[in-house]
Amino acid sequence: MKLSYWQSNLIILISLLVVWFIVSFGFGIIWSDKLDNFKIGGFKLGFWFSQQGSIYFFVLIIFIYVYLLNKLDKKFFSSSSEIDNKEKE
């Protein structure tokens, strides 16, 4: 079965939100104390995720979404100029 634009978008959305949840609520809060047993440099790993790592991942997630959706837009709405034209109406 071929997926529609909206269905593909939802799949991308859900997978990225799962990553979003794991790096912040997961590594930064729920499993943070366990991760603290590992160290990178002077950082305990759980502490690093809650004060640094999660934020880097957030940025990454948004840009991955931008990349994937731009590709999806192209695939379904043949050329990007068509989208531009629609905007102007």
């Binding site: 979003w20 912040s24 690093w48 004060q51 934020i55 989208i83």
Partner: protein, 582 residues
């Protein structure tokens, strides 16, 4: 050059730039005034969003708060950045596609109901005014410390500047001044952070520096900080004290609240294309992350600096910044054990926490306070968290121009956020309340005139908040985020992702979220503050985190009420389909 002269120079120059930009980018139509004519590039909009978002609280208070809270402070770091993922993925592109001017506009149209629009306006105004009050206080603090003018004069100067470019330029003027303000504030935040990082750890990158060894020793900074904290009776700096469930809820409330804040959402209405809205949210988060990943480093440096320069020193030989801030009223010292040394440890130094200064000076020259000492602990210092960032350059003995720069940066942060908030307030009054509810027949020119009037009145009210700061400012910040999460986020999200939601469901959801959240927070913050501890909280959730539960209540109520009433009309289905297409 003297510090004061430099500060006047830096602040004056930055203000001149803002005014210049305002004149260059005047708004000529309501389209310009509300959404800058949809002509803002994604990068510029990203910077403007970052400046809009990073308030006096982010710039001045956050690092101090983290220094005080240690790992518990992570809730602010994750909570105030993670919301941008939700914005970029779930809201911004679709609301941009909708293509109108305000958040109540979307809610009123999608739920084909004036009542829904009105409830949204009420939530928006409440959330935004709560926020503005905090900005004006920040302006007051900076003016009184660095320019040595009266706090009230400072607030009035700030009001005039914002008045000038917000009323004249609307969204267009605000956007381009915010770009300039972002540059000023991030430069002002990073320069001292880099200096201090070099000073303490020899590492020029603060984000890495605070995980590095203290220069000239083999001890990691964070280990040293843990050890010092425990010696002084605090918890280890890198460990939580709050329960996991509470941290979870606070973080979630801040994230969903961020995504539901009207002044952030409207920023994405100003870009030319839907794909630009997504990209712009990414840039915004990059620009925000630059400050937010530096803040925890600044916090760790500030804490260690503070402990080492103050602990067990004699008051007479205490550094000059200590006395400066004491004179402003943000530090107090009560010599509990009479040894003439400053003793810093865990616990409140004074009964009733906040110092009440009297005019006399003590035997060492310290300001005396009327409070009786809190004898349950040995701590002798009251310190307002706000000064950590402002005093840090002085504590680290950086050159005067760095201190002046920080003053200009703090003002940029406060003014940019205030302007953004005032704009959404004025837009929702002139566009949603006047044009769409009370006086539908007014022309574009008249509406623009009303928008300018509404902006002027809002600035006046915000100024009053600054001059007569309500004592509850700090407490109501939880309100702003909790309400945004519990009222606006669910209806915006469902409006896009669930076509079947009708007006009955949306209105009931918003009202239940609003009532549940505001009564929980009011109960613990105003009605019965003595019960505000985890023994009495529902499921151990503090008022700061309740917004997330309010949001779940909103979702449940909206979905179940919706199923009892008929489907939304056919044109709403078409509207949602249209929004989902890029």
């Amino acid at each position: 050059m003297e510090l004061q002269g430099l500060t006047y120079l830096f602040v004056g120059a930055s203000f001149a730039i803002y005014i210049g930009i305002a004149i260059w980018s005047r708004a000529r139509s309501t389209n310009d005034f509300y959404i800058a004519g949809k002509g803002v590039s994604p990068v510029a909009n990203g910077m403007a969003t970052a400046a809009d978002w990073m308030s006096a609280a982010s710039f001045i208070s956050m690092a101090g708060l983290i220094a005080f809270l240690g790992k518990d402070g992570s809730v602010y770091l994750m909570g105030w950045t993670g919301g941008y993922v939700l914005l970029a993925l779930l809201l911004a592109p679709y609301l941009r596609k909708f293509g109108k001017y305000t958040v109540p506009d979307f809610i009123g149209t999608r739920y084909y109901s004036k009542t829904a629009r009105f409830v949204a306006i009420v939530c928006l105004i409440f959330i935004s005014f709560t926020y503005v009050a905090g900005q004006m206080r920040g302006v007051g603090i900076v003016f009184s410390r660095f320019l040595e003018v009266d706090i009230n004069t400072g607030v009035i100067i700030g009001m005039l500047i914002v008045f000038f470019y917000a009323v004249l330029g609307g969204m267009k003027g605000i956007t381009y001044t915010q770009v300039a303000q972002y540059c000023v504030l991030i430069f002002a935040y990073l320069v001292p952070a880099i200096f201090i990082s070099l000073l303490i750890t020899n590492n020029p990158i603060p984000q890495l520096g605070f995980g590095d060894k203290i220069s000239g020793s083999s001890v990691y900074l964070l280990d040293k900080l843990d050890q010092l904290s425990i010696e002084l009776g605090f918890n280890a700096y890198t460990e939580n004290t709050k329960s996991n469930i509470d941290i979870f809820f606070i973080t979630a409330a801040l994230m969903f609240g961020t995504a539901g804040l009207p002044h952030v959402i409207v920023r994405f209405f100003t870009v030319p294309k839907v794909s630009d809205a997504r990209k712009s949210a990414g840039y915004a988060l990059v620009f925000i992350a630059l400050l937010y990943t530096t803040a925890p480093a600044v916090a760790a440096f500030a804490k260690i600096n503070f402990i080492e320069s103050v602990q067990k020193t004699e008051y007479q030989s205490a550094p000059s910044w200590f006395k400066n801030w004491e004179n402003i009223g943000l530090i107090a010292w009560k010599d509990k054990n009479g040894d003439g040394l400053i003793n810093y440890s865990n616990g409140n130094a004074l009964e009733e926490v906040k110092p009440k200064y009297i005019s006399e000076r003590g035997q060492y020259g310290e300001r005396l306070v009327a409070n009786s000492p809190d004898r349950s602990n040995a701590n002798e210092i009251y310190i307002d968290n706000d000064i950590m960032v402002l005093a840090n350059p002085e504590i680290a003995q950086l050159p005067n121009w760095v201190i002046a720069l920080v003053a200009a940066g703090a003002l940029a942060a406060a003014l940019s956020t205030a302007a953004g908030l005032l704009l959404v307030i004025s837009a929702s009054i002139s566009h949603d309340l006047m044009k769409n509810m009370l006086m539908p027949n007014i022309s574009d020119r008249q509406e623009l005139f009303f928008a300018r009037c509404a902006a002027a009145v809002s600035i006046f009210i915000a100024g009053l908040f600054g001059i007569y700061p309500p004592g509850f400012v700090a407490q109501v910040v939880a309100f702003a985020f909790g309400l945004a999460a519990a009222t606006l986020f669910p209806v915006l999200f469902l409006g896009i992702f669930y076509k079947r939601l009708n007006k009955e469901g949306a209105i009931a959801g918003m009202l239940c979220g609003l009532i549940a959240t505001s009564s929980y927070i009011s109960y613990f913050k105003f009605i019965n503050p003595s019960l505000n501890n985890s023994d009495f909280w529902f499921l151990g959730i503090s008022p700061e985190g309740f917004g997330f539960l309010g949001m779940i209540i909103n979702f449940v109520v909206a979905l179940s009420v919706s199923s009892f009433y008929s489907k939304p009309p056919e044109d709403i289905y078409q509207l949602v389909d249209e929004i989902r297409r890029p």
